[in-house]
Symmetry: none
Subunit: 242 residues, 2 copies
């Protein structure tokens, strides 16, 4: 093989050169599921220390190209999703119509004492019992978002007892006779945490859109639900009209 692959006097770090080399190799010769040569092999191939190879592979891990499997090796991952702007258009979903046409599955339902963030948003004392419901929403059968709902227990006994899927807001309106108003939303993006990637059937290196919102009793204005929604970012464009 052509040697002189690595130039120790080019000004570019060795790990960076090795990283670029491996990246090209992955794109040209390797397929998802294939394994890179072991770190030891790469180290002797490039005539560098194993740590330098590790640093190079770190770059690939960060770029989402490979995954390290302890005791097995370093595996090439499937390529990232296509983020083409035009393709996304059909997935556009408005905040206001969220929940209307989706299937909903309850993943977890617990009663817990409200901690800092939750108690602040719901304007209740810390430690007050709240219902914590984790739901998975599906669109056309495909996972779309995961939502953590928090509701004060004393206002939502029926939700804790009977809610078992479907539109939570419709349930609340039907059982409690309360209509909800979204007050404000905080939007950011992050990599999926906890089991979210699994529930959403998405890679862990692909981002989710996280929307925190507070829903209040339409009449009294009292906060009734604090929701943290994580959308698969590749399936959604939030549309905000002002």
């Amino acid at each position: 093989m052509t040697l002189g692959l690595i130039n120790r006097n080019s000004g570019e770090s060795l790990y960076s050169q090795i990283s670029r080399f491996l990246e090209a190799d992955i794109k040209e010769r390797l397929s998802p599921g294939d394994f890179l040569p072991s770190e030891q092999e790469l180290a002797s191939y490039f005539s560098v220390n194993r740590h330098t190879v590790r640093r190079a592979i770190d770059e690939l891990v960060l770029a989402g190209l490979v995954e390290r499997l302890h005791g097995k090796g370093t595996m090439v991952l499937a390529p990232a999703f296509d983020y083409c702007i035009e393709q996304k258009t059909r997935f556009t979903e408005s905040l206001a119509s969220r929940g209307k046409s989706t299937d909903s599955k309850v993943l977890r339902k617990l009663v817990i004492p409200a901690t800092g963030g939750v108690s602040k948003k719901l304007k209740i004392k810390e430690g007050t019992e709240v219902v914590w419901i984790e739901t998975l929403r599906l669109v056309e059968g495909a996972p779309f978002c995961v939502i953590s709902h928090f509701l004060p227990l004393n206002q939502a006994i029926e939700v804790n007892t009977y809610y078992n899927g479907g539109s939570l807001h419709a349930f609340i309106k039907r059982k409690l006779g309360v209509e909800l108003n979204r007050k404000s939303s905080l939007i950011t993006a992050m990599l999926p945490q906890g089991d979210d990637a699994r529930h959403l059937n998405m890679p862990t290196n692909s981002p989710v859109l996280r929307v925190k919102s507070v829903n209040c009793n339409k009449v009294t204005g009292v906060p009734l639900e604090y929701a943290i929604t994580r959308f698969r970012a590749d399936r959604i464009q939030l549309e905000v009209n002002l």
Copy 2:
């Protein structure tokens, strides 16, 4: 000081323990702009090798908590902002009003024929010449977002000729006598594309929030600017009030 900070037999890696310790220290005792003790000092403080400290700081860098400055030290970064999207919200004004210093740097300025997405948003014929300006916005000296602005050339000759940084909307108001209104915004998240990660000084596996918005002449309603903004997701929470 209380020793036994680091437990070599807890099963948790040293760098992870040190990382958690530093994170707590940052939140409790340090402010944005402060510097961590040097790697050497931390190494001797925790009685570990400097490399182990570096590995711990790597975690903080990835989490967006600190930034390494070659030859100076490791600086604590400001926490994420809440950035409110309302009709009149403007990047420069809204942050300046909160006492944040902002800066704007033009990365590229070109005249190109409008392609599908751009022509549709600006309601002009495909192929019509538009000014394409790429700007980098800094807050408190740190990269915050990259914006691609598209403006119809025939309405924005002065922008093409003279705009050289600072608030674009203030420039338009001053030179063209036109005030702008945001019409609607489309929000999603993705991994940084092109040179965005480099300009934003962020890892390529950390997500950006992308906001597409159309700004119209306040009086006539004619679209004058189509902007695609990419925020470092770890530095922003968009606040939407409906």
